[in-house]
């Protein structure tokens, strides 16, 4: 008896609510300005058929794309204390959370699921950039910790797909602590020699890049993704000079040795399966 035998069908309640058809029938590619028919874009995994630009791929679509037969089970979203600082700027943080939940139909900026990928049992976590910029607060940190703990418990590798502006300011120091907690989560996997693959998508910046995102056994990035520690605007204001072409893009990171490979979205699943096959000897035991 193991988790594979108790396989539960995906919980469609979460999935159903997210719209399959975009609001606009036609979408404009932010890079080449070409008008693309919405369904064509969806079929093309939100990669512009004209210029190859990788548009944002929402979490459910990402999970559908990665798991075998789009079958997976969501891990329960951890319950955490909401708005621990009682934070209020020009708007209530609670109001922001509420509208993010309505907009995305997700509880938080991170969701994880388990299932099979190329036949391997695997846990995949995805950040939701549409949820307050994919920022990492307690809920995201706890989600990653629990996803890692689940992977350790069931002896599965972990894949994290990042998309985040960094730490969630509205949770102050408690969000900063998630940098340490998510780093620790990765250590739990490393201790068990379980593979952790980081898939960096546009954008991955700040406290997320300076913690679990940069600690992959293998680091994969999508083309042209912005991957940075400090914001380009801050740097530009500090040095008062122009930034090099392609600064902080995936290709720049690869050139500087910070990313292993840049993989087109269409090949992502296949490449990840290949990586799991290669690393698999360490985690398939006695079968």
């Amino acid at each position: 008896m193991n988790w594979l035998l108790d396989y539960v069908r995906p919980k469609l309640s979460v999935a159903k609510t997210e719209k399959d058809v975009p609001d606009n029938l036609w979408d404009k590619c932010p890079q080449c300005d070409a008008m693309v028919y919405g369904q064509e874009l969806a079929k093309n995994l939100y990669v512009c058929p004209h210029c190859g630009y990788h548009l944002y791929l929402r979490p459910r679509k990402r999970l559908n794309m990665l798991f075998d037969n789009s079958e997976y089970t969501y891990l329960e979203t951890p319950q955490v204390k909401e708005d621990p600082l009682n934070f209020r700027d020009t708007k209530d943080y609670r109001t922001k959370l509420k509208s993010a939940r309505e907009k995305t139909k997700f509880d938080e900026a991170f969701v994880a699921a388990y299932g099979k990928m190329g036949g391997h049992g695997v846990v995949i976590g995805v950040m939701n950039f549409n949820f307050i910029g994919g920022s990492m607060g307690i809920a995201v940190g706890e989600g990653i910790v629990q996803a890692a703990q689940f992977a350790v418990k069931h002896h599965m590798p972990l894949i994290l797909v990042t998309a985040s502006g960094g730490a969630r300011m509205q949770e102050g120091i408690l969000s900063l602590m998630q940098m340490a907690r998510t780093t620790l989560a990765i250590k739990l996997l490393k201790d068990q020699r379980l593979p952790y693959i980081a898939v960096l998508t546009n954008p991955t910046t700040g406290g997320v890049s300076a913690s679990f995102a940069m600690l992959g056994d293998v680091t994969v990035a999508e083309p042209d993704a912005l991957i940075a520690f400090a914001g380009a605007r801050v740097i530009k204001e500090t040095i008062k000079a122009d930034l090099p072409a392609g600064f902080q893009k995936a290709e720049y990171l690869k050139k500087h040795g910070m990313v292993d490979m840049i993989v087109n979205r269409k090949e992502l699943r296949e490449k990840l399966i290949c990586l799991l096959n290669l690393l698999g000897n360490t985690f398939v035991k006695g079968e």
């Binding site: 621990p84 700027d89 408690l174």
Partner: protein, 322 residues
Amino acid sequence: MADKTIYLDFEEPIYKLESKIQELKSCCDDKLAKDFNKEIANLERKTKRLLEETYTKLTPWQKVCVARHANRPHSIDYIHALIDNFMPMAGDKLFGDDEAIVGGMGFFKGQSVMIIGHEKGHDLESRIRHGFGMAKPEGYRKAKRLMELANRFGLPIISLVDTAGAFPGIEGEERGQAEAIASCIMEGFTLNVPYIAVVIGEGGSGGAIAIASANRILMLEHSIYSVISPEGCASILWRDGAAVKKAATALHLTAQDLYKFGVIDEIITEPLGGAHRFRDETIERTGEVIWKHLAELKKMTPEELAKDRENKFLTMTRFELK
């Protein structure tokens, strides 16, 4: 070392009293001196009362100013005062030496330790040399190297946190600032020796936590530790640089806030009037508190130390739900 006291905006009444005292003291007329002594004593009492009133009720923004005070003791001052036979060490053995992070081995009350800290510098020349305490990737990789070394030889690690944040710039990005910070945090979790972090001034975001994934996290009474500077937060969330005071309050960045959240283990009381007024006393007190925690940690086995750190961070921010 700055010998002239620098007064903060909100300290103006204290400044007035103290300059009056100076004025009276500088009067050499013997006849008048007798009368003045009484007056001086009176003024000194008043100053003390005023310091007490001000410093027991500092607002979060005032604490930010105190935490950044130029006369506040920096890592080098702590090292000089607390560590005997200090052997400074340089370089990450990969790219270069970043003096924004200083470190090395030495004896702390007879115990050999590794001490690592951000150093801001104290005058223009040294500030430039130390990169204003904003470390580049090579700085964090040096810290990581020193931690590894300490771990191999069983030396407890003391880290002193005092930075506005990690260096934001082209060189930092191209040499992997994010990776350097992440790996430095990770290194902390792999250690089998006692690891104590002390926020002595400014705990600025990722640049600070890089050297603070420790068994014990201590903070000086008027130090701060935050995910973003109040300036950064004000400009992003309020879109108004002038909202720094509001941002400082909203961020809950004081030692008292962090203690309440269970993020830190102990607040080290500063002498009345702040560390910048009573540098030696502050350093001495800090040393005593570090020593106390070190003594507790030394009772643990190497495995227990790693487990202790793991449990601390796994349970951190798991608050009770109502």
